[in-house]
């Protein structure tokens, strides 16, 4: 390819601080090893990801409930080519699991060889603190 002259733009660094006041119990829950969802006190609908406002009835009267953690894999992928901020990770497997309460969760799936993973497989959803101290959750063998 021939060289094409270009002008390098001034660099911008961005890392917005997303407020989590209204869903802070979720992160508190992770610290205690729990994965929490919200449930609308008005219409009874359960939400994961948790939300402080009910999309169904627009009520903001929600309660926090702990999920059972028993899940069944609905689908999965194994991410080989990774985005810039995940370059330092090894390839990772992401799955969507349906919990017995009916809500679904998208998270990393660890503890399996890729060839062992099947749609319909039972797994466990677990809260986790990464070695870097970040709070997250993942699917693991039951």
């Amino acid at each position: 390819m021939t060289y094409m002259p270009s002008l390098r733009s001034r660099e911008i660094k961005i890392a917005p601080q997303t407020p989590i006041s209204k869903i802070s119990p979720f992160w508190e829950g992770l610290k205690e090893g729990k994965v929490l969802a919200t449930k609308c006190r008005k219409c009874g609908k359960l939400y994961f990801p948790p939300t402080p406002d009910c999309p169904e009835c627009l009520s903001s009267e929600m309660e926090w409930v702990q999920l059972s953690c028993e899940a069944e894999i609905e689908t999965f992928t194994h991410v080989v080519v990774r985005p810039a901020s995940f370059q330092h990770h090894k390839p990772y497997t992401v799955a969507i699991g349906k919990l017995k309460e009916g809500v679904k969760v998208l998270a990393w799936l660890t503890g399996f060889k890729l060839s062992e993973i099947k749609v319909g497989m039972k797994v466990k959803l677990a809260a986790k603190t990464t070695p870097e101290g970040e709070l997250t959750y993942e699917f693991v063998p039951p």
Binding site: I12, P16, T18
Partner: protein, 389 residues
Amino acid sequence: MRKVAIIGAGNSKFGNRSDVNIMELAFEAVKPALEDAEATAKDVEFMALGSTGAGAWYAELLPAIVTAEHCGLTGAGLVRCEAACASGSAAFFTAYSAIATGQADIAMALGVEKMREIDTPTTMEWIGRAGSYLWEFHNFGLTFPAYYALYATAHMARFGTTEEDLALVAVKNHKYGSMNPLAHLQNRITVEDVLSSMVIAYPLKLFDCCPITDGAAALVLASEEKVKELKVDTPVWVAGIGYASGTANLSRRQHYVGLEASVLASKRAFKSSKIKPDDVDVAEVHDCFTIAEIMAYEDVGFCKKGEGAKLIREGQTEIGGKIPINLDGGLKAKGHPIGATGCSMIYELTKQLREEVERNRQAPMKNYVALAHNVGGTGHYCYVTVLKR
């Protein structure tokens, strides 16, 4: 073309909203708008969202999608409209069109912006790039106040407009902001406060500038048939919308004493609505900086070119004057969450036309006609919306 009315309006508290994310902030406008319209989220067939900071000022890259999910609007047709600081008006125009063409019976225009999740120099950097990055930012570091300051210098040199005249705009808008519980800045200020505030970009000082604000506003629009079917008490009709644009490079503009896009968009709005400037009972004009309000008086046609300062000096743009302007505090005091501003202007005018605002800032109504003038960038975009009860 079908007639279209605003049947519901909602506006979040404006300010430093580090208590909510973009979805939660949008919800604070969407819910009251739907309640006001006595409609549900599922009634909304199309939603146009105005926002400019996606992925940069806040992390979510698809604000129309995440706010729709949060507010129960998923399923509706969605689009995000960007017209810089006029994004909210562009979203309103798009939602309006979806109904006017008969493609939807109920639609929503939602404006939402988070501007305070990043630091101020980075915000200044982003907004400074809104124009011609290559020719006016890269080497020269123009900021948003600086672009308008170029207009202020020229207007002062040509018409004898003074820094005191500019300050009067801020004083007026803070006065009304202090009466508006939704406003970001609710303190009253004096001319002296403005003149003694720090210089941001000569001749503009801190109090000549709007604050950096988070906020959301939503409007529910409906067709004439739907208005009848729902037996809406006080529909506010869209009488006409005008739009225009200006060059990216300020160096390609003809002059610096007014915004050509404002002149053109206003003419088009008056033509399509068959309304004259004199018919307007109350207006919102784009006062991101004090000079912007003075130029808007002239460009929209509330006075002749060069007489804007006279209008503010005489108090003609306050309640009791010829044409009360920015009775919600304007961008200057209510705040200017970029993508939300257009919808918030129309929210305010809807409430004014319905005579539902706080009593001390309610404009007297003669013709029940209102006008919103919303500029994007430094006259890069302009949308003018005329409403009639």
